[in-house]
């Protein structure tokens, strides 16, 4: 490790020292914008996602409250939902005493809930297939909820309402499970054959998303949320400090909820066409590209009519979750979470990503460019992307000077920071990342040993 790397890590550590009763989050965010060392990442993410307060003396109380609150949610919404729904139905009946809506209401709502659950189930089973982590048992199952086994609930329902044509969704889900259990390449235990007090990591994610959908009825669950919660849970659950890892589920839930509060508009269909929905966000991104790199914009957006919906929609909606391998993504998210304007940070990264493949895009035809944009090359150095994105955000070139230069000059000015600072920062980041990569390799290897 170079002196610079050590300096930076020491700096981050010093900001988090126990004697600092109030953590200077402003300085910490700045220090973390090129990446966070593995050992400090879970703590830093909790701070950046406003789960932990800056005042360290309050941590104990806050954590105890939040974690107890989450345990209550699990108990009330999953372990004994009947009681709660009965209370709810009772309230309805007292208002409308005429009919007896009790049975119908609860059946319909359970049907709707199960549809959401089926959707979640389908998506979490295939979470980050490049690593085995989500297919492994957690050391910290939520015992009472594990006995319930949400996935089983869907297949059980299928048997109960077999005559109902609306139960087709469940049919499909159970047939998928069968297929998986038969596939030799995917050593996944079905929900049925597993120890009732064990849980796989994807089942923990399933529970969190299901609770989120119940607590946030205006959004429920939309495909893609799984890609946002997955990496956060991975970081918390693989924390070497067991005291923290033990509470990965509750802590992830609240951090995810906080992250969603910032990006949820992108997931709400009703807002798609409004001034806060995803469409305006991606259209603005293309406007930004037009200013930043007119030649590239002209080529892909005007000549080839590549619309932002074709690629940057997913980039921004999923905060790049599907564009990079998990270790790369986690490092990028260090910068994204550390930033106080996360949307702007993600967009800057997207601009740099385009710039990194600029020459190929300018030479490529529509088909080649679509493939490039939808399957971003994995040989691009994430450390470089982060440094350039940082520079782009902190010394934005004025629009006027950008326009007065020729297209290629513009991109040089906007994107190329001093090569010296670039190399130094690149060193630092790759040091951080080696840790993450090693840990992931460990998981993969363990899996190989088992099989």
């Amino acid at each position: 490790m170079s002196t610079r790397q050590i300096e930076r890590i020491t700096h981050i550590e010093s900001l988090l020292l126990i004697e600092n009763t109030v953590i200077d989050t402003k300085k910490l965010r700045e220090a973390c914008s090129y990446g966070i060392p593995d050992s400090l990442r879970p703590l830093c993410w909790r701070l950046f996602l406003d789960y932990l307060p800056r005042d360290r003396p309050n941590w104990k109380v806050v954590l105890a409250q939040q974690r107890a609150g989450y345990a209550d949610l699990v108990e009330n919404l999953i372990v004994t939902p009947g009681e709660q729904e009965d209370r709810h139905s009772a309230a309805t009946t007292s208002k409308e005493v005429t009919d007896h809506p009790l049975s119908e209401t609860s059946t319909t709502s359970e049907f709707r809930e199960n549809e959401i659950l089926i959707q979640i189930d389908r998506d979490v089973r295939r979470l980050r297939p490049e690593i085995q982590f989500f297919q492994k048992n957690t050391d910290y199952p939520f015992i009472s909820a594990a006995r319930i086994n949400l996935a089983k609930r869907i297949s059980r329902d299928r048997l109960a309402v077999d005559e109902d044509p609306l139960s087709k969704m469940s049919d499909r889900s159970s047939s998928e499970m069968t297929e998986e259990s038969q596939s030799p390449a995917v050593p996944v235990k079905t929900a049925e054959e597993q120890d009732p007090e064990c849980e796989l990591h994807w089942q923990v994610v399933e529970r969190m998303l299901f609770i989120y959908s119940k607590v946030n009825p205006g959004i429920k669950y939309v495909q893609g949320m799984n890609e946002l919660i997955g990496p956060i849970y991975y970081v918390f659950a693989t924390d070497p400090d067991r005291e923290w890892a033990e509470h990965a589920e509750a802590d992830t839930f609240y951090c995810f909820q906080h992250l969603m509060s910032e990006v949820k508009d992108n997931f709400i269909k009703k807002l798609d066409k409004s001034n806060c929905g995803i469409e305006i966000v991606i259209n603005k991104f293309h406007e930004r590209l037009a200013v930043q790199d007119p030649a590239l914009y002209h080529h892909i957006a005007e000549t080839q009519q590549i619309q932002p919906q074709f690629y940057v929609f997913r980039w921004i909606l999923l905060l790049l979750s599907q564009e990079f391998s998990l270790p790369d993504l986690i490092t990028l998210w260090d910068a994204v979470f550390a930033s106080t304007d996360r949307i702007d940070c993600v967009q800057s990264i997207c601009l740099v990503m385009l710039n990194e493949i600029r020459e190929d895009l300018l030479a490529g035809d529509f088909s080649a460019n679509m493939r490039l944009l939808q399957d971003y090359p994995n040989n691009i150095d994430v450390a470089n992307i982060m440094i350039k994105a940082y520079d782009l955000r902190h010394k934005k070139v004025s629009n006027n000077s950008a326009r007065s230069n020729s297209a290629s000059d513009t991109s040089d000015i906007s994107f190329n920071s001093s090569s010296q600072s670039l190399t130094r920062a690149a060193d630092r980041i790759s040091a951080f990342m080696t840790g993450a990569k090693a840990r992931i390799n460990q998981y993969t290897n363990k899996k190989k040993d088992n099989s």
């Binding site: 389908r122 044509p165 087709k168 995917v186 074709f310």
Partner: protein, 213 residues
């Protein structure tokens, strides 16, 4: 429509249908001859190209595989606008997915006004034992809306290539009809062998690249 990498005419085809009916699986089977039980859910339409030769003529297909979940339906028009073909895919074991394609057909008829070839596709024939939609019912429906009909299984690789051949033949026939009509209507164009939908290699260099949508 975008001029392709080669001199073959290019047709744009969009795959539509409810979530999990197998749109991505059909495409994966067609392009890479693979099947993946754990295929990622599609949140953003994905793009693929493939060349095929029909009746001795090579064409290139630009295929858009769209997202199935309700939330992402508002993005549909971006992909089907300017398409020469649309596959309306449902799962033969799922009544609701069949009802959903009726909505898509109505929408396409309103917007594309008969300019595109529609192919109704019943996927998952490997699950025939739990079939909910009878072939005759679906065929009758397809006929009633002027669409073609086919069944397939992406999992067992049954009739996947045939789907794309069927729709391509129909698109080519439609393109030459349009071309004939145009030649009749406009004498100026009579010397050009270009058609509305099919771009000619001699023009791709000189003319600005054609739009995809």
């Amino acid at each position: 429509m975008e001029a392709g990498t080669s001199d073959s005419p290019v047709f744009k085809v969009v795959l539509l249908g409810e979530g999990a009916v197998g749109k991505s699986s059909i495409l994966l089977r067609y392009i890479e001859n693979k099947f993946n039980n754990k295929h990622l859910s599609t949140t953003q339409a994905s793009f693929a190209t493939r060349k095929l030769t029909v009746n001795g003529k090579t064409v290139e297909l630009n295929i858009w595989d769209t997202a199935g979940q309700e939330k992402y339906h508002s993005l549909g028009p971006i992909y089907y606008r300017g398409s020469q073909g649309a596959m309306l895919i449902y799962d033969i074991t799922d009544t609701r997915s069949f009802e959903r394609i009726k909505n898509w057909v109505r929408e396409l008829q309103e917007v594309l006004k008969g300019t595109a070839t529609l192919l109704v596709v019943g996927n998952k024939v490997d699950l025939d034992a739990t079939r909910q939609i009878q072939r005759e019912t679906a065929e009758e429906y397809a006929k009633s809306v002027g669409a073609l009909y086919a069944e397939c299984s992406a999992k067992e690789n049954i009739d996947i290539d045939a789907l794309f051949e069927t729709i391509t033949k129909a698109m080519m026939a439609k393109a030459s009809e349009v071309s004939t009509l145009n030649r009749g209507a406009s004498l100026r164009r009579s010397t050009s062998r270009r058609t509305i939908q099919v771009s000619d290699d001699t023009d791709t260099e000189a003319a600005p690249k054609k739009k995809c949508c």
